[in-house]
Each structure stands twice: as C-alpha cells, then as structure tokens.
C-alpha cells in the first residue's frame, strides 16, 4: 500500500509547484477592494497601455485585503493596493508597510483626494458615502414613513426595521459612525447612536448587506452606501436611496504601493495610471466622485446630490481615532442583545 500512496501523494503536488520561469511577460500583483467591474476596467486600461505587463488581481473586501497585507509583511506578495479605504491603508502605513510615492499626475488630483503629507503614500481613486436604502413596498405595508435625516432614525416607528454593519468588521459602518461623530460631535454622536440602537434589529458584518437586505425586504432601512442600492434598483428592487439631510460620512478609496514590492517599476507605472484623468474617467462610470473634480458623470440610478452632501471630515484625525471608536462601539453595542421586533 505504501509505495503507490506515496507516489500518488507526491504526484498530486507536482503540477502545482509554481513555475518560476514564466513567459517573457512581466507580472504585477494588485490587491483591490474596488467594485469588481471597476477594478477590471481599470486593469484593462492599464494593460492596454503596458502590454508587456500582466496584472494579477486579488479582489476582496476592504478589511480582509489589508489584513492579508499585514499578515504577509514578512515577504510581501502584493505590489500595489489599487483601491482600499484610506483609513484601512493608514493602519498598514502605521505598520510601515507602504512605500511613499508621488505618482505622475499627483498634482492634478483634487487636493482632498490625495495624501498631502510631504511624502505621500496614497492617491485617491474615488470616494463613497453613507446612505440609506429604504424599501418602499414593505414600508407601505407597515405604514412607515421614509426617513429624511439621520435624526429620524431614532423615531420609535422604525423599531426593529433598521440594519447596519458593525464598524468592527466593516469600513462602511465606520464611515457612517465617523459621519455621525462629525455631525453631532463626539458626545452627541454617541447619544444619537444610543437612541438609534433601540431601533436596530441587526449589526452585520458586510457593508453592502444592509442595502441588499432592504432590496429583498428582509429589512426596511439598511444603513450602507449607494452602490449596492443602485445595483439592487437596477435588478428591480423596490428601494429608494436616501441621502440624509445632515450630510454624509464618506471616505476615499485610494491606491498605495506596498513596501518591498517585487515589481516596483510596474507598481509605480500602475500608480501613475491610477492618478491619471483617463483612469478617473473609467471610475466615474461606477461612482460619481472621483479624483478629478470636473468629471461629471452620473451612473444610472445613482443619487444625484451625493457630492453636495459630503461632510467636511478630518481624515487624519479619523484615522488616528479608528481603534478608539471601535473600542467604544464594542463597549456600547457589541454586548447588548438588540431589542426584538
């Protein structure tokens, strides 16, 4: 029994040992948390300009991608992170895992969309903002009015009908929380969340799930961001994307080169491409806010006034308070059993 089994075991591995000597083409490993279609379109644009480079993209959610970069610190696998929340990138930067680089078109990028430190680490690609997905069919059945503002969410009429992600596992939730802390102030923000907590039926893990759940009637109000809501509407979901009147917490998705990148030259080329107007025009097909202020395209069914409702936020401060906000949130809401329907 021994020899055949040993042979089979070894044989099973042989085909999968990486082939070191690949073709003449150079490769570039890109980690990205952008929308899949957007990421693929950007890569396609890059490869068209650099035909000798083959991009290998690993797509995933914001937090797992950064967790992976941190875990791989001993021998970095990624060359460049093409799109991840700036707050998460700062966590990697705090661990000195990112390489400062000023891309070719850095100066043309809107000032708010770039790392304005002396040695910039990131350059913005797009931005996304908190919003509500509101299921009109289920609301009508229960005679529930559409909320107009964040403050409305504390109204007992919404008891058990609100879901949101937990900021402990979702960047989307974090930017909503940061938005509330900006709008209502440190003390007022937590007081607002205390009251809203009475109405929340579920804190989930995924930032896009609340909109999907609103789309399928699992909840009436989902605190999320616009893109999953837009997709649900395009598929036929009876929801309305509401941008609360007080303003929206938002965050930038940015690109950054990984320190120790094996294909540094191509990674820089990718950063240059990402900072270009051409790339921003591609991104604009998916999200209205890009690195170039003057590109005005609105994706189908995307709410028109998102840009005007963005709050003025202190990103440096938010990045440094990330851990503290999470701990406070865990203390207040991570423990209590939420009220039942």
């Amino acid at each position: 029994m021994l020899k055949p089994i040993l042979a089979a075991t070894i044989a099973a591995f042989i085909p999968f040992v990486p082939l070191v000597a690949e073709a003449q083409q150079r490769t570039l490993t890109v980690y990205s948390s952008l929308d899949e279609d957007q990421a693929k379109a950007l890569i396609k644009g890059f490869e068209a300009k650099h035909p000798q480079v083959k991009v290998n993209a690993i797509l995933g959610s914001t937090a797992p991608i950064i967790a992976r970069v941190i875990a791989e610190a001993a021998s970095p696998q990624a060359d460049i992170i093409m799109g991840n929340a700036v707050s998460a990138l700062m966590a990697a930067d705090a661990r000195s895992l990112l390489l400062p680089y000023k891309p070719a078109h850095f100066d043309k990028v809107a000032p708010v969309m770039r790392d304005n430190r002396a040695e910039p680490v990131w350059v913005g690609i797009d931005a996304w903002a908190s919003s509500l997905c509101f299921n009109t069919v289920e609301a009508a059945k229960k005679n529930i009015p559409a909320p107009k503002s964040w403050a409305d969410l504390t109204n007992p009429v919404y008891k058990g009908h609100i879901t949101m992600p937990s900021p402990l596992s979702s960047g989307t939730a974090l930017l909503a929380v940061n938005g509330w802390l900006t709008i209502f102030g440190e003390k007022g923000g937590w007081e607002f969340m205390d009251k809203m907590h009475e109405n929340v039926s579920k804190y989930g893990h995924s930032g896009s799930a609340p909109c999907r759940q609103a789309g399928s009637g699992e909840t009436i109000i989902g605190i999320s961001y616009a893109t999953p809501g837009v997709k649900a509407i395009n598929e036929g979901a009876p929801i309305q994307i509401i941008l609360p009147s007080e303003g929206l917490g938002w965050e930038i998705e940015a690109a950054a080169i990984v320190k120790g990148a094996r294909n540094l030259a191509d990674a820089k080329a990718m950063a240059d491409w990402i900072s270009s107007r051409e790339a921003a025009e591609i991104s604009a097909k998916y999200l209205p806010i890009t690195a170039y202020d003057d590109i005005q395209v609105l994706p189908k069914n995307y709410p028109a006034d998102e840009k005007s409702k963005l709050l003025k936020m202190d990103f440096a401060k938010l990045a440094s308070s990330r851990e503290a906000v999470m701990a406070e949130w865990q203390k207040r809401y991570g423990v209590k059993v939420p009220p039942k329907n």
């Binding site: 029994m1 021994l2 040993l6 990486p18 039926s201 423990v335």
Partner: protein, 565 residues
Amino acid sequence: MAEISAVSGMAARQVRPDPTGQIVPPVLLVVLATATLLPIGALLVRAFLGKDGAFVGLDNFLRYGAEPGLVIAAWNSLSLSMIATVIAMALAFPFAYALVRTAMPGRGIFRLIALLPLLAPSLLPAFGMVYLFGNQGWLKGWLLGESLYGPVGIVIASVFYVFPHAVLILSAGLSAGDQRHYEAARALRAGPWRRFVTVTLPSCRYAAISAASIAFILIFTDFGIPSVVGGSTNVLATDIYKLVIGRFDFEMGAVVGVLLLLPAVVAYGIDWLARKSQRAMITGKSVPIRAERLPLRDLMLFLFATLVAVAILGIIGMAIFGSLVKFWPYNLSLGLQNYERLFTDADEFRALGNSLILAFGTALAGTGLVALSGWLIARKLGNGMVRNGLQGVAMMPVAVPGLVLGLGYVFFFNNPANPLHALQGSLALIILCTVAHFYTVPHLMVVNELLRLDREIDLAAQALRIGPAGTARRIHAPVLLPTLIDVAGYFFVNAMTTVSALIFLFTAQTRPASIAVINLVEGSRIGQASAFAVVIMALSMVAAAIQLTLRHLVIRAQGWRRQTA
C-alpha cells in the same frame, strides 16, 4: 490425507528487514506537523507576543478578558453549540439507525439526501433559510414570531451544517455491531425496545460520543453561520474575525484561537475515554448485524426520515429556486440570467476549473496521507511516542477555525526563513492547507475501519515473514478500499466548498469557485452568487455519485464481503 513435505528453497531464509515501522511514522509526523501544527502554532504563539514580537506572557489574554462582551460571546458559543449539538444528535441518531438497522424503504435515497448539506457551499443553505424563514420567508410564521437572525437562525443553520457529519459517524458506528448480542437478548426474552436500550445503545455509545464531539467542535469553531444568520448575536468565532480582520489585532485574535481550542480538548478527552471503553465491544469474531423487520417501527422511522429529508430538500430547493428567479421576492418570474455570467466571464469559468483541480488534488493527496496516518495508528506501527504525536497532529485541525489555519499558513510559509517559502502563492500550498483543514474526520474514518480488523492478523502475517508494508498491500488496502473511496469523496466535496482558510492564500491564478462566490456576494450580485453556488453543488453531486458508484462496484467485486457463498 497426504503426507506433509518440506518446501524447497525455504531453508535459506533471507529475511529483508522491513523498515516501514521505523521510517514512515517519523517522516509522516514531520509532513503532517508542517501542514497543521507548525502553521497553527505560528499564529497561536502570537497570543503570547506583543505587537513588536516580544514575549508578553498572558498580557493579551488579560487584554481580551477586559474586552466587553467576552463573557456573553463565550456563553453564546457554549450554549448555542450545545443546543444545536443536542438537536442534531436527536435528529441524526434515529436517521442513522433507520439507515443501517431497519428494513425501511428508500434507505439509499435517504442517505444521499442526508449528505446533501455537505455538498453545498454554506451560503446556499443560508440563502435557502432566508427565503424560507426570513422576514419575507414563506414559512416565517413557523418561527412563532422569533426572528431568524439571532440564536434561532444559528441553531437551525448549525443543525443543518453538522447533520451529515453526525449521520456519517453514527451510521458507521451502528453498522458495526454483533448480531449475537441480539440473539442473546432475544433468548432472554427482551422485547424490541429492551433490545434497543440494552444492546444497541451501549454498542454505539462510542460512535454517539464521537459524533457529538465532532458536531460540537464544528459548530463551536464555525464562523460562517453566525456571520450570515447570527444577527447581532456574538460568538467567539466571530470575535476572531472582528479582531483580526476588523482591527488587525492578530495577537488578540490568537488569544481567541487558543480559547477555541479548549472545549475541543475537553471533547477529545471524552472521546478518548469512550474509545477506551469501546475496545471490548466488537471483536474480530463478531457476527455482522442483520436488519430486523419491525413494520410499525420501520413505518414510524420512514415518516421521520421523510420529514427530515423534506426539510433538507426544502432549504436547498429554496436556494436553487432563488437562483432562478429574476429578483427575490418581488419578481418571481423564472430565468437563467444568473447562470449566464458563469459561462461568459473567463475569470469565473477559470475559478470553476481551479476548484476542480483543487478538489482533485486535495482528494488525492489527502487520501494518501490519511491512509498512511490512519494505518500507522490503527496497526500500531513504530514508536509509541511518534504515534501519539501523529494522532495529536491529526486530531488538531478540526478544532481550529479555518481563518486561524489560513492566517497561520501565511505567517508560517510566507517567511523567507522558511525553506518551503517557494510554495507561497502556489496551488500546492492551497491543497496542503485544505488537506490539513479537513484532515481529522477522514483520519478517524480510516482508523476506525482498520481497528475493526483483528490485530492478530498482522502477527499472523509477520509469522509468515511478510512485513508491515506487504501486509498493508495485500490485506489492509483491500479491506480499506471502500473507506478510502469515501475519504476521497469527503476531501473532494469539502475542497469544493471551503472558504475561510483560503481567503489569505488564493491568488489571481488559483482563485477557486468558493471564493468567487464570496466575491460575488461582496459585489452585491446575490443572484449570480446563488447560481454559482448551485453549480458548485451540482459538481459536488456528480463527484458524490461517482464516489457511491465506485464504492458499490468495489464492494461487489470484493466477494469476500458477502456472508454466504
């Protein structure tokens, strides 16, 4: 009678020493430790290290102890795992009993249905449950006003998840009894119920404890279920996710990983004690069980099994239905639009191919390793300490959440100091990780099957100057063959659906279909994600069908398994 003569050429006894027992166990121990113990250790050791890598003793534990919510998460983990285990056992025991100990009609079909949850990516039943019991669910009223999202959902989904595991272990245990015990009990005028209580229950005590331990550990360490249907109910397994993924706090995540090992250690202890007392129950001279025909009992069990089967088919059927509708629950017109992308998008199509390669590789490598480790342990080869080490290393993975294993792989292999560093990013490493992740149950399947073979058979072979390797080839391998087919099937279907350990390991070239499903969910393409999951399940079903056919053919070809000529 003929006179006996000596065989020519026998006087010159040239015995080549068989080094199998000396060489194979230590080598295998090193291989398995590299696949399980060392990577897991590479992460768990961080529980005792600071962020800078310096030893900090129990600081991280104290830090975690001070976290609000720990007690509630631990309590939720323990209580929900226990409740779900009890319910799963209460359903799985009569089901397994009906499968192997009765003349109930349709046993083959029922067995297939019981294994279905094993074949489906975990998202599929989660969607199915949402469509059935969610706020828009067709059977929402059955929850009596309770919300699916929370303890109720965790328990239902956990029961669904571990049911096939429990049925597998229990039916193996129930089929290995001694008919003579029943004959003796009958002679003592014991009625069917008394025979059940006094003979059946004690004889499968070990299998029951084993099944319950595995079920408990699987539920206790599972992250997927509480994250999809758990609502805001915190459990320890989701804590790891929040700590590692959300807060990048690997050190405290490692603390939770260590804590998750504890109940598993207790469960092993119970398992070990049960195994010790089981020894005498079945011997090589046992007479195989013959199913008794009791019409009333068989009818009741048939109704029960039908109910369970309807529940399983209902949940999975609902998910399939969901993948075919235009937009749940507002546009229920049917169509194949969700399946189109699978066959038009090159990346998704390649993911399916990757999954098949991964599954084949895992089945091949895993079956080989498990056959060796199970054989060495069941037939007591080599040094006892090495064997104990092997057993420990083989038993460890089931108690480790996939996330911990996957992260451990990154820390261990993605290190220039590691001579195996070249494996990073290769499909070989993903296969090794998947083999390690699902190692325990197949290992136990092999050990249990070989333990049923009398130990003296090996001694008899040795007396005939055939060494361990020769006996393995001529005796153990044929006896084990059907089990190995099952083992290969088990590895295959698990590799098709596994996610948690791979999210840190896959690359653009090696991304398997199960990860593609997650990516689709993240991209809010729920319909396509369900469609993809359905395709994965269909491929797994094909694999399972091949497995069952092969097994059937092998058993038919092995004439010695039949009782009468």
